[in-house]
């Protein structure tokens, strides 16, 4: 079930001879994508050969590969219930004004592959590692073990993007756009759009420190959408703001999702995931419970959450164990690509040299025509 998803099976003769000689070239220097770019790289075509079963999407290729992810934190704890032997150490640490540290296992051995065109919901109770997973995928935190590979830099739309509190909202929009790597011209072009989405009225000219938390969150969300990322990570962004903003942001989200290659969505509302995702991942205490079709996973999670909330631990445990039993563990391996044969010019590749010049003049001509049309 879950594991099959939309991936076609390899022909039997291939999988028979393969397992023993599977290449495992993991630590090879990785090249290909433009680092720190949020836009999709020019696609090389050789990867896009998988036709999905349904036939709805033309091609599927992996955009994010998560391999054996593990995240442990060492953090101070005031819990004194553990071992006697630690007593001496605690005394020493107390003298330094420090607290004893414990290891928190935020994520344990998470592996999966996300494909272009997929919208993946991540469900789980508070503290199950959902946000940590997103932050690691976005490259904002380094995992203790394992790695994440992606086609372009994923952009996390969360509620903790930092802005300068003393600057007016308008300036912060510009700064945020530049921080995401937009050029000044692109940032200038994006500003009206961002301000409109944020919908803060005259408050956009006031310093950020005068904003309410809801207003600030709206502005951050609006800024993050300006980059039009290819891989989009959304951390409950839709939960911020009032009803009017929610409506607007949902429209924008829809547009972003359509433009994006792959979307990850963290939400407590299993219904949101059911409605807007094609696939879902259920995390429980940092472990992957189930990875499968959104409908199926979301329904199971809802049942579990209901049993958990109604204080029926036996039912909750049964649902969780069933899901665990059905889970098929994923192992991700990387294959080195065939070296390109000769200087083949890809159709979507970026033009260079003379071609680049021609493309530039062409783009300028088109832009001029468009402004002319706009003037009329």
């Amino acid at each position: 079930m879950a594991a099959d998803l939309d991936y076609p099976m390899p022909p039997p003769q291939l999988s028979k001879g393969r397992p023993a000689s599977m290449p495992v070239p993991v630590q090879r220097p990785l090249t290909g994508a433009i680092p720190m770019s949020v836009q999709a790289p020019p696609h090389t075509g050789q990867l896009a050969a998988v036709a999905p079963r349904s036939g709805s999407t033309p091609v599927l290729w992996p955009t994010v590969a998560v391999q054996g992810l593990r995240m442990f934190y060492r953090t101070p704890s005031t819990d004194t219930s553990s071992g006697r032997r630690a007593k001496l150490r605690r005394t020493v640490l107390n003298a330094l004004g420090q607290e004893p540290k414990v290891t928190v296992r935020a994520l344990t051995d998470i592996s999966f592959v996300a494909n272009s065109g997929e919208q993946i919901g991540i469900v789980g109770q508070n503290g199950s590692g959902k946000s940590t997973l997103l932050r690691i995928i976005a490259g904002l935190e380094k995992p203790t073990k394992g790695q994440v590979l992606a086609e372009s830099t994923p952009v996390l739309i969360g509620v903790n993007a930092a802005l300068v509190p003393d600057l007016p909202g308008e300036e912060n929009v510009r700064l945020g756009c530049l921080a995401m790597g937009l050029s000044p011209a692109e940032a200038q072009a994006a500003i009206p759009d961002v301000i409109e989405l944020a919908g803060l009225g005259k408050s956009i000219y006031l310093p950020m420190r005068t904003y309410s938390s809801g207003m600030a969150a709206r502005l951050r969300f609006a800024i993050a959408t300006a980059a039009r990322p290819h891989i989009l990570l959304i951390d409950e962004a839709l939960a911020t703001g009032d009803a009017a903003f929610k409506e607007r942001s949902e429209v924008r989200m829809e547009r972003l999702r359509k433009e994006a290659g792959t979307v990850f969505l963290v939400s407590h509302a299993a219904q949101t995931i059911e409605e807007s995702c094609t696939r879902a991942i259920w995390l429980h205490h940092g472990r992957l419970v189930l990875d499968g079709e959104a409908q199926d996973v979301a329904v199971r999670y809802r049942k579990w959450a209901w049993a958990h909330a109604k204080d029926k631990p036996d039912d909750a445990k049964r649902i969780l164990e069933e899901a665990f039993a059905e889970r098929r563990e994923t192992e991700v391996r990387f294959d080195t690509p065939e070296p390109a044969k000769g200087p083949v010019r890809e159709r979507h590749a970026r033009p260079r040299g003379r071609d680049a010049k021609q493309a530039k003049t062409r783009a300028a001509r088109i832009a001029a025509l468009q402004t002319e049309a706009g003037d009329l």
Partner: protein, 300 residues
């Protein structure tokens, strides 16, 4: 259903194993958050120059926005500073023993050293204070300490204007020569050196926050070792060996060159330029590469 060696991603099921192996072709994928090669890192940093500039300018203006006089403080601050030193050292202590035009000597030392102090202290804390930015955006982290230096450089502008005015009115120089044109070169080398050192200490302080405290103290010691308030020539007359060691101190060289050019109409010793150039280029390279090496560890 298609398949074959060109297949991008497929599922291979092993006999009775509950494990699914997904083979992913590396073609377009690269590790998220990976440290790019040095050349690419520099290019990425260059691509963010607009952000660096906007960020530095925003912080310079926002730092004074809450005060009544606002940006006037950018000039008032060094002006008051200079006045205090003038009163203490010029009027109360009747100048430095044996130093010609002591007020000018002192002002140049204090103002130029202040830039380096502020940049190094700020640079050491830059990863810590930029944590929110690190957790929100992907960018070459070297932008943080460099942004601090840039911010202090923007602050240095008004300071230099004040310095020039103070020297012109309070500590007049007999003649202004062509050597004034050498001052920007010395300052450029000072900025290069400071940037390199800021990057270096930023890595140390990011690994161990306690370092930032030590650096504050080291800057104090360095201040005394750079002949800001006194002259090595008079103080260490009988210890030429120590004097020779102290004269390789890059900050001393900067101050010495600028004083020679502005106050004493003397052409600075070419060896001074060689030493300073070496310090500036060497420190910038060492600092940048050291910072780049730990790129993946910042803000964790």
């Amino acid at each position: 259903m298609s398949s074959g060696p060109e297949t991008g991603s497929y599922t291979a099921l092993f006999d009775a194993s509950p494990t699914t192996t997904k083979l992913v072709t590396l073609g377009n994928l690269s590790r998220v958050g990976a440290r790019p090669p040095l050349g690419q890192y520099v290019r990425l940093l260059w691509a963010r120059r607009h952000f660096l500039w906007a960020d530095a300018r925003a912080k310079v203006t926002s730092g004074t926005r809450q005060s009544l006089l606002g940006q006037a403080w950018l000039v008032l601050d060094p002006l008051i500073n200079g006045a205090v030193y003038f009163v203490v050292f010029g009027l109360l202590m009747k100048g430095g023993r044996g130093i010609e035009n002591f007020i000018g000597y002192l002002l140049i030392g204090v103002f130029l050293f202040q830039f380096t102090t502020a940049s190094i202290n700020g640079g050491a804390r830059s990863v810590q204070t930029g944590k929110n930015l690190i957790r929100a955006f992907t960018f070459p982290r070297a932008a943080l300490p460099i942004s601090v230096v840039l911010r202090n450089l923007l602050n240095l502008g008004p300071t230099l204007v004040t310095l020039a005015a103070l020297i012109y009115f309070i500590a007049p120089v007999e003649e202004y020569t062509w050597r004034l044109a050498l001052v920007p070169a010395a300052l450029a080398l000072q900025v290069m050196f400071t940037t390199g050192l800021a990057l270096l200490v930023a890595r140390w302080a990011a690994a161990l926050p306690d370092v930032a405290n030590l650096i504050r103290m080291s800057m104090r010691i360095w201040l005394y070792a750079s002949a800001v308030f006194f002259s090595f020539d008079t103080l260490l007359e009988d210890r030429p060996d120590i004097q020779r060691v102290l004269e390789t101190n890059p900050m001393f060289i900067v101050l010495d060159i600028v004083r020679d050019c502005v106050l004493y109409a003397t052409t600075p010793d070419p060896m001074r330029w060689v030493w300073l150039g070496g310090w500036a280029v060497g420190m910038l390279l060492i600092g940048f590469i050291t910072f780049w090496q730990a790129e993946e560890s910042y803000g964790r």
